[in-house]
């Protein structure tokens, strides 16, 4: 798909901006070029400077304060490439397209919606954005929007055929056969600016940048996403075929397209027949899966602003002796060749903004000398790490580090054999060292000095050797002498599935007593994304509920309460009847 050359129309470079405005204003024939009035653009500039420039930069080049930390990067408006549009691939967006993104935002990126802005402000902003790119002055760069017909209802019959089309036209090469964004060429994708980019995880439509409704998906298939390898299939597929693909994606997503249904609790399920990890997924059948959102570890040094894993799913089972967890998540590639560890030191990324002198905050040379240099002075020594980051710094991407896209050919046919990541994937379950007595819980990043945690860590390069660590703070990790849990791990079709088993009571460690809520937090490392040590995805604390094996029957209590209520009722009735007996006495003679 990368090879597919998109049609781009460039405006004449010499035409000056003012001249163009003058021309357009005076030529009603070219009416479709609408750049607004001076006042409108002035309004737009005010809004832009307050709400937009911190990411998109004062000149619209996508280089604001936060830009170095964001993946996907903030849009570079000077390019005129807009990802989410209703127009054919490669064309400029309509005003309504831009307006929609401003109002709704782009899910699972740093771009929020701005519903508070007034229509006039949004209109002004749209015109102001257009000033950043001269493409908008060229009337020929415009094509009318593609129409999206009303969505037909979902039909399961289409899925089979759609899957065939999906494979045929090469969707699976990027998005993977199960749509988890793990296609063979997925690790090699870059956008038009040379920045690495990920194929969408089709089984999680709520993360789709262009929206999760059936119409949105149809539109994205039709128009493609400008600036990315995702082409438009307006010509390549008939509308029926496109709707079939939509059905296929919906079949991958399960119940809900737009709502991930994140859980707030993991409920363990009591099982019979012994807990044996050999039983695999079958062991966990019937255990309620809890999908937990993952955020980047952006607190401690070695921050991870764009974790490779968006969400993890966890199930828990238990019997009289043991407790077991199954953690699964989607990963672009299984990285088993490297190593990983929760205590690896990560040098802080030095942002482009960091080269300015005030920007030295995230620890470059000066910071390392300063006593506040928490980032560790290793920054200098560990030059071998530089640029290994998948999402990494643009500059670093091209140099000596393990740039993945250099190995396009190998990985394209080898699938996960293309794993050249320096760090392997890894997962850790985190529990408090002991059940918190009150509301105070350890700090969610490896605990704190008063409230230690235990980490059940598995380097998926060596799943046979799980480790237990004791944490008393982000950097304060020491190997624990507690017994390690039993672990079984597998990677299939873009999904890791890691099984943990441990006895419910184990030494000094956390106990899984019936009727208790045991806090759990997860850490997940995506080796492909160069994650290790503190650079990782984490979750907040979630309680794991271990219900009593035998829950008391509700019937005795029901019967008792109903009897008491009935008795009270009868007493009241009897009392009222007695009090008002005179009326009955009057009736009698009559």
């Amino acid at each position: 798909m990368r090879g597919r050359r998109v049609r781009r129309l460039r405006s004449p470079g010499l035409a000056s901006w003012v001249l163009c405005v003058g021309l357009i204003a005076s030529s009603p024939l070219l009416g479709q070029v609408d750049l607004g009035t001076d006042e409108q653009r002035a309004t737009g500039k005010v809004v832009y400077d307050k709400y937009c420039s911190q990411c998109h930069g004062d000149t619209g080049a996508g280089d604001g304060y936060a830009a170095p930390y964001l993946r996907p990067k903030p849009r570079d408006f000077t390019s005129g490439k807009y990802k989410i549009r209703s127009t054919p691939n490669g064309m400029l967006p309509t005003d309504d397209d831009i307006r929609r993104v401003i109002e709704v935002g782009i899910p699972y990126t740093a771009m929020p919606g701005f519903p508070e802005l007034s229509p006039a402000e949004v209109t002004g902003l749209v015109y102001y954005l257009k000033t950043f790119s001269s493409d908008f002055e060229d009337p020929e760069a415009y094509l009318p929007a593609l129409t999206t017909p009303p969505a037909p209802p979902f039909s399961a019959d289409n899925v089979e055929n759609a899957k065939r089309v999906y494979e045929e036209i090469g969707c699976a090469r990027c998005h993977g056969t199960s749509g988890r964004g793990d296609g063979s060429s997925a690790p090699t994708l870059v956008d038009d600016w040379g920045d690495p980019i990920r194929a969408a995880d089709l089984s999680r439509p709520w993360t789709f940048r262009g929206g999760a409704s059936r119409e949105d998906i149809y539109r994205s298939i039709s128009t493609g996403l400008n600036g990315t390898p995702m082409a438009g299939f307006e010509e390549g597929l008939s509308p029926e075929e496109r709707w079939q693909i939509v059905d296929f994606i919906q079949s991958l997503a399960g119940d809900s397209m737009s709502d991930p249904g994140y859980a707030s609790l993991v409920t363990a399920r009591a099982v019979e027949g012994g807990i044996d990890l050999e039983r695999g997924a079958e062991l966990f059948e019937g255990a309620e899966p809890a999908l937990l959102p993952v955020l980047g570890q952006i607190v401690q040094p070695g921050r991870s602003f764009h974790p490779g894993v968006v969400a993890v799913e966890i199930q828990a089972v238990y019997d009289r002796e043991d407790v077991a967890f199954r953690v699964s998540w989607h990963d672009i590639q299984a990285n088993r060749n490297g190593t990983n560890g929760p205590d690896l030191v990560v040098e802080e990324m030095s942002a482009e903004a960091g080269s300015e002198d005030e920007g030295s905050f995230w620890g470059d040379e000066e910071a390392a000398e300063d006593e506040g240099g928490f980032w560790g002075d290793e920054a200098e020594d560990e030059s071998d790490d530089a640029g290994g980051d998948f999402w990494g710094d643009d500059a670093a991407g091209e140099d000596d580090g393990g740039g993945f896209w250099d190995d396009t050919e190998e990985s394209a046919d080898g699938g996960s054999d293309g794993d050249l990541a320096e760090f392997s994937d890894a997962i850790a379950l985190q529990f408090p060292r002991s059940l918190p007595a009150g509301i105070r819980q350890p700090y969610f990043l490896n605990g704190d000095s008063q409230n230690p945690v235990e980490l059940w860590f598995v380097d998926l390069g060596y799943p046979e050797a799980p480790e237990v660590w004791e944490g008393r703070g982000s950097q304060a990790l020491v190997p624990s002498d507690e017994d390690a849990p039993f672990v079984a791990a597998s990677y299939e079709d873009g999904r890791w599935s890691v099984l943990f088993k441990r006895s419910r009571r184990n030494g000094q460690g956390i106990a899984f007593d019936e009727g208790t809520f045991v806090p759990l937090a997860l850490s997940v490392w995506d080796g492909f994304n160069d994650e290790r040590g503190s650079k990782r995805g984490v979750t907040a604390w979630y309680p794991v509920y271990v219900p009593p094996m035998e829950s008391p029957s509700p019937f005795p209590k029901m019967a008792k309460t109903a009897a008491i209520v009935l008795l009270v009722e009868l007493l009241i009735i009897a009392w009222v009847r007695r009090r008002h007996r005179p009326s009955a006495a009057e009736e009698a003679p009559a």
């Binding site: 009150g438 509301i439 000095s449 008063q450 007695r578 009090r579």
Partner: protein, 189 residues
């Protein structure tokens, strides 16, 4: 049929009271416990005290949020390395123990030259160490440039159990204050 008035009134009282108790059970139930006090038995050795003191200094005593050990240059608070040696000569008439105790119980009364002060009395909230905890901290401080001598029997000046005769706050600015309240413990001590 006729319920006596007294019974009715009693019933009303009980029901109203029960209702308010019920309301009280609906709000969040939080029990606030005091910060943990390090329990110290009388048979702790000096070495034990040093260990406990170091832990307190690093932990809830919050000493090293301000102070440093073995650092020089532009400091905002005095460095504590070698404090045990300097403590002997800091204030005329105060031995090292008394000086250390004073700097913990009443830190503002003597401010090391070149520094601005600002240390809170650590026997007071929000830090609020107990006398025994302070005893352990002193033991630890004595190891910084000296030998720990404090035992569980040592009388710590300025502490609640301090006997008369040892230098008291009287020699600092707060003038004519009397010996502290707990004179009753003298007999035991």
């Amino acid at each position: 049929m006729r319920v006596p008035v007294t019974l009715k009134v009693a019933l009303l009282t009980v029901v109203a009271t029960a209702f308010y108790t019920y309301v009280g059970q609906l709000v969040p139930q939080k029990e606030v416990h005091p910060p943990e006090v390090v329990e110290m038995s009388a048979d702790l050795t000096t070495a034990d005290l040093v260990g406990i003191g170091e832990e307190i200094a690093n932990g809830k005593g919050l000493c090293f949020t301000c102070h440093t050990v073995g650092k020089s240059g532009a400091l905002r608070f005095p460095d504590l390395d070698g404090i045990a040696t300097r403590a002997e000569t800091r204030i005329a008439g105060f031995d090292a123990l008394t000086y250390l105790a004073q700097s913990l119980y009443d830190p503002e009364s003597y401010i090391v030259e070149g520094f601005a002060g600002g240390m809170p009395p650590i026997s007071k909230p929000p830090i609020g160490l107990t006398d025994d905890e302070i005893r352990a901290v002193i033991a630890y401080l004595q190891t910084l440039g000296g030998q720990a001598t404090v035992t569980m029997d040592t009388l710590i000046p300025f502490s609640a159990a301090a006997p008369e005769g040892v230098p008291m706050a009287a020699e600092s600015e707060s003038g004519e204050s009397e010996p502290p309240a707990e004179t009753s413990e003298e007999g035991a001590a």
